[in-house]
Structure formats: structure tokens, C-alpha cells
């Protein structure tokens, strides 16, 4: 494997996440999911890669991919790696004007593996995409996922990422909001235990006026696990009346758990509303005592408080998805709290 092509913690955007270090432990070989897809169909000039400084993983995916999926209608994808595999899945999602699509992505695997995924999303005028990503990786699994979204006028992108097993994850999202009155909502729940590592790195480029973006991330980190949240909102000079909101809340359940948070706002327009908030703390002991004093057993009381902590991230989730989210949350809390 070409380790010299990988981003290292020397670059600012990878400061907290040592990918070469995580991959070094494993002996992996290029493999396929069997999706097929013609690499020649990939448009080298398609929105995505070119704009960024850290394009190494994107380029590596373009070189290596044997699995390409073109998506324009409702779909559910299971992306499962086997032991020893190095996969390079590529999702190319194009939603036509006025259409509404739901995509469910299930990320999992067995043994040691690396999935280096690229997701390219183009939303035409007034197109809507609800994108659910369930991540349940093995402890020795590595997932790097780069999602690029381009939104035209009146387009709506609504994503929820739910992580109940991390291994080693870099979830990078870049949204270009190019048309007026578009909305980009990125919600996430990261539940981390053991020595898992999960990095969420987001850039939102507000390039057009009257657009909104929302990020609500909730993290619960226990044992020796480590979470990273880097969120940047960049409001260009033309993007007047932008409403940008970013929130990252973390509960640390053990003294060795760690969370690194880096919110960034870069604003060049003068009539905008932007806010960001980041908190890292422990469970409210006073609230816990109140619940217990009413007869609720400690474990159940902790679960109740944690579920309520996570709830804002689920607010926009579809009714069909909620039961799965609740079940996964309960399962994780049962095991780790």
C-alpha cells in the first residue's frame, strides 16, 4: 500500500487523526465489493476533489476504485468489508430537479480492513436528499469517507450519521451551497467505546445568499476512546442573509476518554446569522440524583439522561428510521453504561 500517499497529522486538517498509524498495523490488499462500474464514466471535472488541499484520499479512491454506484432514486446500500480487504467504493448521486430521494447507507465489516470511500452528491434545483449513514465498524476496521455535496437553488440535503461502532473512522463532509434558499443539515451521533477513534470533519461553503446550514453533533465517549469534531462554516461575500448553526456536545464517561473540538467560522458577508457552540462535560449528577430519588434505578436513569442528550440530533429523522435509531442507542447504552 502506498503509505506515502496518505495524509499525516502534520497537515492541520489531520492534526488529531493519524491514518498511516492506524493502517500500519494491518496487511491489506485491494479488493472489490463486486459492484462493477466503469471508471471511464467518472468525470474527472465533476464537483468535488479539485477544490481542496487534502485530496489524497479522493485521488487514491479514483485510482483504485472497482466499485461504482450511480444513484438517482431511493436506495439502501450495505457496504461490508471482509478481513484483509482494502475497498474503494465510489457513490455518485445525482438528484434531478424537484425529485425527493432517501438513501440509507449501512457501513460494517469483519476483521481488519480499510474502506476508503468517496461520495459525490449533486442536487439540482429544488431536489431533496435524505441521507442516513449507519456506521458499525469492527475494532480493527478503518473507514475513511469523503462526502461532497453540491446544492443548487432551493435544494435540501439532510444527513444523519449514526455511529455505534467506530474502529478508526474519518468522516469528512464538504458542502458547496451554490444556489439561493438552499438548506444543508448535517446531524450526527457518535457513540465511542474501547479504543475507538472517530473524526468528523466538516466544511460548509456558503456561496449564495438566503441559505441555511445546521450541524448538530452529539458524542458519548467512554473507556479510552477519542472523538474529534472539526467544523468550519465559510460564508462568502455574496452569501448575505446566511443562517449558519453549528453545535457539538460531548459527554465523557471515563477519565481516559478524549474529545477534541475545533469549531471555525470564517465570514466575509456582513448581514449573516451564524452561531456555534461546543461543550464537553459529564453527566449531570444533580439530574441523576433527582431521577433516582423518584425510584428510577441508576442504570436506567443514566440511560434516560443520555437518550435525552442525543434526542436533538434525531429531530429531523424520518418516522420509519426512528425505531432503528432508538434500538441501536438502547443496545449501545445497555452494553457500555
Amino acid at each position: 500500500m502506498q503509505h506515502d500517499l496518505l495524509p499525516t497529522p502534520k497537515s492541520e486538517r489531520w492534526k488529531y487523526t493519524n491514518l498511516p498509524g492506524a493502517l500500519k498495523k494491518h496487511d491489506l490488499n485491494p479488493a472489490t465489493l463486486g459492484w462493477g462500474g466503469d471508471v471511464a464514466l467518472l468525470n474527472k471535472d465533476a464537483p468535488g476533489a479539485a477544490q481542496y488541499q487534502d485530496t489524497q484520499l479522493w485521488d487514491l479512491n479514483s485510482d483504485q476504485t472497482q466499485d461504482i454506484k450511480f444513484i438517482s432514486t431511493d436506495d439502501t446500500l450495505d457496504i461490508n468489508a471482509k478481513d484483509g480487504q482494502w475497498l474503494s467504493p465510489r457513490l455518485v448521486i445525482h438528484i434531478k430537479s424537484g425529485e425527493e430521494v432517501t438513501l440509507i447507507e449501512n457501513q460494517a465489516g469483519a476483521g481488519a480492513y480499510w474502506k476508503n470511500q468517496v461520495v459525490q452528491i449533486v442536487l439540482e434545483e429544488n431536489a431533496r436528499l435524505s441521507h442516513y449513514r449507519f456506521i458499525d465498524e469492527q475494532d480493527s476496521g478503518v473507514l475513511t469517507s469523503f462526502t461532497h455535496i453540491q446544492l443548487a437553488r432551493d435544494a435540501r440535503y439532510q444527513a444523519l450519521s449514526f455511529m455505534s461502532g467506530a474502529g478508526f473512522v474519518r468522516n469528512q463532509i464538504h458542502a458547496d451551497i451554490q444556489g439561493e434558499n438552499a438548506d444543508c443539515t448535517l446531524n450526527g451521533v457518535n457513540l465511542l467505546a474501547g479504543s475507538q477513534h472517530a473524526d468528523t470533519t466538516i466544511t460548509i461553503e456558503h456561496q449564495a445568499p438566503h441559505c441555511t446550514s445546521n450541524q448538530t453533533y452529539k458524542n458519548i465517549v467512554t473507556d479510552k476512546a477519542r472523538g474529534v469534531f472539526q467544523g468550519k462554516v465559510h460564508v462568502h461575500r455574496a452569501a448575505q442573509k446566511t443562517d449558519g448553526y453549528q453545535l457539538s456536545n460531548t459527554l465523557l464517561l471515563s477519565p481516559l476518554a478524549e474529545m477534541d473540538t475545533k469549531p471555525e467560522l470564517e465570514i466575509y458577508a456582513d448581514d449573516v446569522k451564524c452561531s456555534h457552540g461546543a461543550t464537553t462535560g459529564q453527566l449531570d449528577e444533580t439530574a441523576l440524583f433527582y431521577l433516582r430519588a423518584r425510584g428510577i434505578p441508576e442504570k436506567q436513569a443514566r440511560g434516560l439522561l443520555m437518550s435525552s442528550f442525543l434526542a436533538p440530533a434525531f429531530e429531523r429523522a424520518d418516522d420509519n428510521i426512528l425505531p432503528r435509531l432508538e434500538e441501536l442507542t438502547e443496545g449501545w447504552l445497555e452494553k457500555h453504561v
Partner: protein
């Protein structure tokens, strides 16, 4: 019902309760009055098992059995209840979820059947109606954004739902205007009965005009320095704490 014997308790190495003896019989209402810092709130927390406090000597017997080794939830199931001076706001947990979870946990411990959603709602609505509480409150998150009066009424509602045998009211009058105070006191009076005892903790005599105690104690510097009938509260109100404290010294 409850028997407190030579109770000493401390927090962070500071002794707050310095030997309290108190016995309350079934159906009786006792009041504890005392100046700020006398240990009133500490006593209420120690009774329901808050873990920040260490009991260093003495015992608390509830129907003859020591509760010192019991967790807060076990004490609640056994029938102890504290109406908090400052009820805790828990955004994100709905009142109905909270109350149903609590009630069913307690019922399970008491060997009673759990209530299903419909029976629970019926009981909740009836209890709200009995206490003159608008059940719209149940659709909100626990105490979140509640006014002072709403919070205290909510404590009384929880008490009515959980049906404890012994309830401690910690400065339930603090932060209430006279109308809110009357409503809360009325709620408490409805719950009085031959099998239920109360300990009413207050700084002022005002509350005791509405919840009439059988016995009044004065707490100062972690000890009960005087015990008497309802008249003692009135005497305190007239003369202030200083005279009684001096006479006791």
C-alpha cells in the same frame, strides 16, 4: 414510622449534622425550623440518600429497618420521598416518560403490576384533577422553563403519584407567593392520612399556617435545640431565632 438516632453527617470533611434524634409516628406532621446554615437541607438529603454526604455516626430507621445502606431508588421504592427545594430541570425528558418510568420502577419494587400507557394516563389525569393541576404541564420536559410555583406543584404531583409513606418537604414555601403557597399546601393536606407522615422543613412560620404540624423542632448548628407544639413556630416568628438560640446556649 421514622426514627433518627444520633445522626452525624458531613460533606467534604465538614460536619453539618452533629447528633440528631427524631422520631415521627404514622400520620403525624413534624416541622423543622431553623436559620440558614443550620443543616436543614443536609438532613433532607441524607434522609433520601444523596451520595455527596457521609453519615459518620448514628442511624436512620424506617419502619424499624436501617436505610443507610440503601440507594436513593431503593429508599423511594420503600416509601421515602423528598420534595426538593430546587427541583431539577431536565430538558429532553418528557414529564410523562419520567413519571411513568418512576412509577413503574417503584411499583415493580413493591411487587405491584406495572401500569400500561392507558392506565397510567388515567391515573395521571385523575391525580392532576384532584390537585387542581393543568395536565398540559405533562407534555413538557421535566421542570424545564417551569415557574417557581409550577415546579413546587410538580413536586406535590410526583408525591401524589408515588404515594410515599414518609415525605420530606424541603423549604417548599421558598420562592412562592401566597396564592401558589395555598395551592401547594392544599395539595399536601389532601395527601395527609393516618398511614403517612411528613417532615416539613422551613425557615418561616408562614407555611405552617397552611400545613398545620403536630410537633415543631428548632434546628441550629446541626442539632435539635428545642421541641414543642405548633405554638413554638408562632413564638419563633414573633421573637426571631436569636432569642431561642441564646436561651439554648
Amino acid at each position: 414510622m421514622i426514627k433518627i438516632k444520633n445522626l452525624h453527617a458531613e460533606i467534604d470533611g465538614n460536619e453539618i449534622l452533629k447528633g440528631i434524634d427524631l422520631e415521627i409516628e404514622p400520620g403525624k406532621v413534624h416541622a423543622i425550623m431553623g436559620p440558614n446554615g443550620s443543616g436543614k437541607s443536609t438532613l433532607s438529603y441524607v434522609l433520601v440518600g444523596r451520595e455527596d454526604y457521609d453519615v459518620t455516626q448514628g442511624d436512620i430507621l424506617f419502619n424499624g429497618e436501617s436505610v443507610l445502606e440503601m440507594a436513593p431508588e431503593e429508599r423511594a421504592a420503600a416509601g421515602l420521598f423528598l420534595a426538593f427545594q430546587y427541583p431539577v430541570e431536565i430538558p429532553g425528558v418528557q414529564m410523562t416518560t419520567f413519571l411513568k418510568t418512576a412509577l413503574n420502577a417503584v411499583r415493580q419494587e413493591r411487587g405491584e403490576d406495572e401500569l400500561d400507557a392507558i392506565d397510567f394516563l388515567k391515573l395521571m389525569k385523575k391525580t392532576c384533577a384532584d390537585l387542581g393541576i393543568n395536565d398540559e404541564m405533562m407534555k413538557r420536559a421535566v421542570n424545564a422553563g417551569f415557574s417557581g410555583g409550577e415546579k413546587k406543584r410538580n413536586e406535590v404531583l410526583q408525591m401524589a403519584m408515588l404515594a410515599p409513606k414518609f415525605a420530606v418537604l424541603d423549604e417548599t414555601d421558598s420562592g412562592l407567593d401566597i396564592d401558589a403557597l395555598k395551592i401547594v399546601a392544599e395539595g399536601v393536606n389532601k395527601l395527609r392520612g393516618p398511614d403517612r407522615s411528613f417532615l416539613v422543613i422551613t425557615h418561616y412560620q408562614r407555611l405552617l399556617d397552611y400545613i398545620e404540624p403536630d410537633v415543631v423542632h428548632v434546628l441550629a448548628d446541626g442539632k435539635i435545640i428545642k421541641t414543642g407544639g405548633p405554638d413554638l413556630a408562632k413564638e419563633l416568628e414573633e421573637k426571631g431565632y436569636s432569642e431561642i438560640l441564646e436561651n439554648a446556649a
